[in-house]
Structures are given as C-alpha cells and as structure tokens.
Symmetry: none
Subunit: 214 residues, 4 copies
DNA sequence: TGATAATCGAGACGGTACGTCCTGTCTTTCA
DNA sequence: TGAAAGACAGGACGTACCGTCTCGATTATCA
C-alpha cells in the first residue's frame, strides 16, 4: 500500500494491549489517575511506543472510545414508528447505563478527557446516540413522518438530549425512575400550556419556517 | 471570636492574593495547567498557606467561583411577565458570555474542575442562573402565572437549560445567532406538532398527573 | 550566618545517604553503570534532592572522593630522611592498593569520572599523595636536604609519579613485585649511564638553574 | 573472498561511512555524547549494520583509532643517534599535538573509551609512540648504543613517558614550553644529585642487577 | 510582660509522572 | 540475502509538581 515504506510495521499486538490497558485503568482509577507510565507498564510496552502513535493521554482515550473499549455498546433509539416510545426507551437505556456502578465515574472521566480533546466529546455523544448518528437519524425519520413540527432543528434536539445526559452526569443530578419518560415528553410537548392558553403578553409568533442551523 | 483561640489569625491578604492568583492563572492557562506551586508563587505565598485552608486545587477554584473572581457576573433572567422573552434574553446573555474570547476555555476549565469537585458544578450552574437559584425562581413564577403547563418539573427544565449550555461548551457545538430564541421556543412549545396533528400510531396518552421528582 | 536565610535547611541525613549510596554503587557496578536513579533509590531519596545540590553524577562522585568515601585512606610518603626508601614504600602501598580486588576497577571508574570533571582528577591524585599535597611536600623536604638535584621541578616529579600510577591503571600494565623500587630508582637516578659516559653527540648542557613551572 | 561464502558481502562503503561518522562525532561532541543512533544516522546506515560488526561503541572507536581516523599521525621518535635530542623532539611533537585546539578533548575522549576497552588504551599509546612499538624500539637502540644504563627496563621507561602524557591530559596539568626538554632530562638523568653528593642518611644501595619485569 | 500558640513566607524533602533519548533486538522491504 | 529503515521493550535522563515537613519570623492571646 504505502509504496517505498521500509522497516518494521506497526505492531497490532502492542496497539491492542495499550488500548486494553487504558480502558481497564480508566475503569478502575478514573481519567486523571491514569498515567502514561501506568498504561505502558500495564500493557507491557515501552512508553515510546505509546508516544510514537498518540500525542497525549486523551488521544489514547479517544481511540479507546472509538474502538468501543470504553463504552461497551452504542445506544441507538429503535424505530417502532412511535417517536415518543422510542426516545423514552432509548433515554431509559442511557440512564440505566449511567446508573450502573462505576459508569457515572467513567462518564465523568470521559467528560474530563473531552475538555482537552474535542474528538472525545464527539465520540462520547456518538456512542450515546447523538451526533450525525443514529439519534439524529431517528429524529429525521420522525420529522418525515410528521411526528415533529416542521422546521424543528434536529441538531438542537440532539443537543438538548445530550445536554440532559451531560447535566445528569456532570452536575450529579439525582435520578428519578420517571426521568426518561418525563424528559422526552417535556422535549416533545414543551413546557408551555396548550396553544389557546398562550399568555397574552407573548404575542403569537408567526409560524414561519425556522431555518436549520448551519 | 473563637474562645480559647490563640496565635496569629488568618491573613486576609494572603487569602485574597491566593484567590486572585488562581483566577488570573486559570484565565491564562486553563485549569489543568494551573499548579499549586504556580498559585503560591504568583500570590507570593507559601504552599503551606494554601494547603492550610484548602484541601485541593479544585477547592481553591470553587472558592474563586463563589467569590465571583472567575465568572464576573451572575446571569439571572429578568421578570417582565413574558417568560419567553425573559428566558430568551437570559439565554442570549449566557451565549454572549460564552462567545467572548477566552470564556469558552474558562468554562471548559470549570467543567474539568467540576469533574472532581461537585461543588464547582453547583456554583457554576448557580452563576449561570440555575440551581435552586434565580432561573428556577423565574420558572416557578411563570408556573404560578399559568405560563407553564401544570405539573411541569422546574428541576427538569433547569436541567435542560443547563444541559443546553453544557453541550454547547463541552461539545463545541457551533453557535448560531438564532440559538437563544430557538432553544427557548423549543423548550416551551415542544418539538411535536400541534395536538390535533398527533400521529395515529402514537396512542393518546392518559393525562395522568406527573409526579415531580423527589 | 547567611542572613535572611529562611525555609528548611539542607538535610545532612539525605546528603550522607546520597554519598554513601554513590560510593557503594560505584564499588559494586563501576562508574558508568551507576545512575542517578539508582543512587536516589539506594539512598531512599528523591532524585530532585540530588539535582538540587549537585549538577551531575560526576559532581556527586567528586564529593564522595573528597569525603573519603571512595578511597579509604590517603597515601602519604613518610619522612624517615631517606627519600628513596620513603618513596619506594609509598609507591608500594599505592601499588598494593591497586592490586587489591576491585580497586583497579574503582580507579578506572574514577578516571572515567575525571574525564568530565577536573575536580575528580585533582582529588584522585590528592588521595594518592600528589597535588600540592603530601608527595610534593616530601619532595620539597628532600630538595631542602640536598637529596634532589637543585633546580629539579617538584611539579614535574609528582606528575611523573602520578603518570606511573595512571598508566598502570588505565593501560592495564602488568604488575611486577619489584615495580615500586624500580620506578623510584629510575626516577631518581635516571636512565642514562653515569655522567662521564654521556654521549658525545649530546652536548653537555649547562647546569643553569631551571625555573620551576608557573 | 571466503570460499563458499554466499550473499552480499560486507559493504565497505557502510564500514567506511560508520568510521568516518564516528570520528567526526567524537571530535565534535566527545566520547560520551556520541551515540550509536547518532553514528548510524550520520553515516546513513541502519543501527543493525553497526551492531552486526562491532559489539559496542568503544569497539567502533577502537577501530577508528586503528584506522587512523582519530589521531592523524603516529608519533615516532627519530633516530639521530642522540637519544636526548630524539626523545625531546618526539615529546615536543606530542605536546604540540595536545596543545592544538580540540585535541585535548579528543584525547580525554579516548581515555574515557579506554576505561571500558583495553584495546583503545593499547592503540592510543601505540599512536603516541609507545607499546612494543617505535618508542620502545628507539629506547632499545639507545640501550644498545650504551646511551642507557645497563639493566634499565624499557617497558618502565615507556610507561613513564606515557604516564607523563596521560597525567598532562587527564589531570589538566598546565603546560610549559620547556616541558618536553625538562621531562626527558629528568627521565634520563634522574632527580637525585650526582653520585658523590649522596646523603649519608641514605645507605648506599648495592648495585644488584635489576631483573626486568615479566 | 513573658510564655504560648498559631500563621506566614520560604523552601527542602520523598515521591510520582512527565516527555525525550538511547540501547540492543527484531522485522520488513528494497536492491 | 545484506543493508536501509524503523518499530519494539526497556530504562535513564533531567524537570515539574505533589503534599508534607521544617525553618525563622511575626502576631495574637493568655497567664
């Protein structure tokens, strides 16, 4: 492939050992108590082998995330046709994941890592269902089925769902069994009372189509 | 003061110098490149003087936050009676703050700090307007004025607003000038189409009273 | 003494432990297999404590030498009045020291160290008897007692004796039991035949006083 | 070349490049700052190619020395019949070499190398004139011409001359323009006063034949 | 008015980790 | 099939901080 390339090729064994060690250590210790030396020694690898391929700890963690070594599965909403039920079931699964022992700490680790590595943020949300990925896709399907108001920005919707999860994890919001359903309902039906009851002080806004961001 | 207390009392000059140095360094370097030694030397203070009064770097940062040394002002929604306008104006101010140079980095620093210090998360959201504080209060006023649907959880609403801000900062969501208005409208009116248009595939849900969390 | 000196003072325990560890390791491993990390760990000391007080490994070794931790005793010629006997006895002691197991390696270590630290060369020769020190003193006494030819440079004489030892150690010259006596005799009486036999081709040099170096 | 030998033969170009690179680096950096990697990269050669033919850095250096890449010329005493003049002129040339800029450092490098490679010591002295080589030969000629006292050990004489050079280089003895002449005279005529003046306190030693070493 | 006790700036201490450099071996590709 | 290129495990380098401790000086209370 790479013509003219000479010398030994990258050791896949070393790469795998590094990613495995990193995942294991992150789970056990949390992001900021994991060290490059710790990873190297756990992986039975020279430090230079890590630095040769990744510029920083957060880059290694990012690759762990991409490889699926940190978050075991992705959380995609199903498509039963019922957007409310699908989102509720999806959000419930995400909340259940957070609630499992050690997972909240792990997610906070990933948030810390995301602070100095945008890629981690992207893949974190990707894993949880958002990003161009599956959550957005499901929302677009719903929009096509006229289950969302025309003009609703799918990006803003996914941002909100990710925000719900982030604030839960980062701000340690106490959990409630009804949360998944309640949040989905809130997002879909809104906080304001039914349309006719709209307060007089707020002038009825023209329902001009809202241009999606970007 | 404290009966039986002997010896020199805590130096307010040192305390102030430490908080000032910390703020300045956080702004310049970001949370994780600030060190206790750096703070001490910048403040012209012995390291022990810091450790005597705070257990960790994040505790010092937390106190900076409380003192208002890090976020210059709090962001409280006004109360003009129009909840939509008030929230929009408030969210716009928050977004403007984020957009100012250096502020996004600062907020990410605080997110990193919040990962290992829950207090920082609390005060961060407090500063931005949420927590038991002013945002929730404004929402409660709106609820009392029947501008929110009965049974809407104010806690969940504030979580969502905080989530919107967190995902913007942490996930580096690109900004749009219309964001503040659009998010507020989305939260208040929901993503689903007007009631009559509700899809047949989604069975009309019983309007059972939603128990508020906790 | 040092006015205005504040803060903890240098730990003599740490200093002693470092010098002891260094000596022990040099003896066991030889100069270039001794590492700063090895010294620190053997001494139960942080690496920084070494670097705080010494700029390099060779500086630590130099101080070991000065403290007498490496060469157990100094080798000073006695003064019985008989310069030949005194020098012979002294040189024999030095040769005996070299011949003892491990000592030749140790001396070669010190030579290696002397390459990048002139101080080590000085103290090494000092320990063995030369330098402004005792050997030179003994030679000056001999000169005063007219046991040396007037005008003989004491510096050159000590250089020669040190050279004899250095070449023995560095070049691994095989030892001979008679060496001490033979070298002293050679130095004192010279290699040329008795004066009358001086070759015609070499014009008799005027015995003008030779100015000592420096 | 070697019968039955198949495959590519040793690349003389690589060998030459390695020796050239080593010499150049030693001159520029000094022995212990030269690395195998540095040699390989300077020579445009794989590290393995070096390790295939030499076991260690000092072995490469030794071969450089043998090839004459490090010390440009050998220093052999002439034979005009006048041993004093010949040795003086020879020693002066050696001292002049040392005095040239960079040469003292180079010689100290070689001393460092000699510490862990006896061969280097041998060839170093060989280059300077000693060893079974030319200096010893010249001395033997002088002995045959009765310009040396019978029984004088040529080995010890060469050791002394090498010692003079070594102590000059290693101990950084300050140079004096008269040194070459003075040292030769000292070695040949000795430090003691003329025979009649021998001090009473020193008992006249029997002129027993001195057995040569080995 | 001392003695006592706490704080302060300073900084040394035993450690851990950093990111770089080098060693000596092994592996791949090219000529 | 030898040599270049270069990846690899390992280990030392010298630096930066950690959190604790020890100084000498200063400041406040209590006896």
């Amino acid at each position: 492939m790479t013509a003219g390339r000479r010398g030994a090729t990258r050791s896949q064994a070393a790469r795998a050992a590094i990613l495995a060690a990193t995942s294991s250590l992150i789970e056990r210790l949390g992001y900021d108590r994991v060290t490059m030396e710790g990873i190297a020694s756990e992986a039975g690898v020279g430090k230079q082998t890590i630095y040769r391929w990744w510029p920083s700890k957060s880059a290694v963690v990012a690759e762990c995330l991409i490889e699926g070594a940190l978050l075991p599965e992705t959380y995609a909403p199903h498509d039963t046709g019922d957007i409310v039920a699908d989102l509720t079931e999806w959000l419930q699964r995400v909340f259940d994941f957070i609630a499992a022992p050690g997972h909240e700490t792990m997610l906070r680790s990933l948030i810390a890592a995301a602070v100095d590595n945008p890629e981690i943020g992207e893949h974190l949300t990707g894993r949880l269902g958002a990003s161009p990925d599956v959550l957005a896709e499901r929302l677009r399907t719903a929009a096509a089925a006229r289950q969302l108001r025309p003009g609703t920005s799918v990006e803003r919707l996914t941002d909100m769902f990710m925000g719900i999860v982030l604030s839960r994890v980062l701000l340690r919001t106490p959990a409630d069994p009804d949360d998944a359903r309640a949040f989905v309902e809130l997002v879909l039906t809104g906080a304001a009372p039914h349309r006719p009851t709209r307060p007089a002080s707020a002038p009825p806004r023209s329902s001009t189509a809202r241009q999606p961001r970007r």
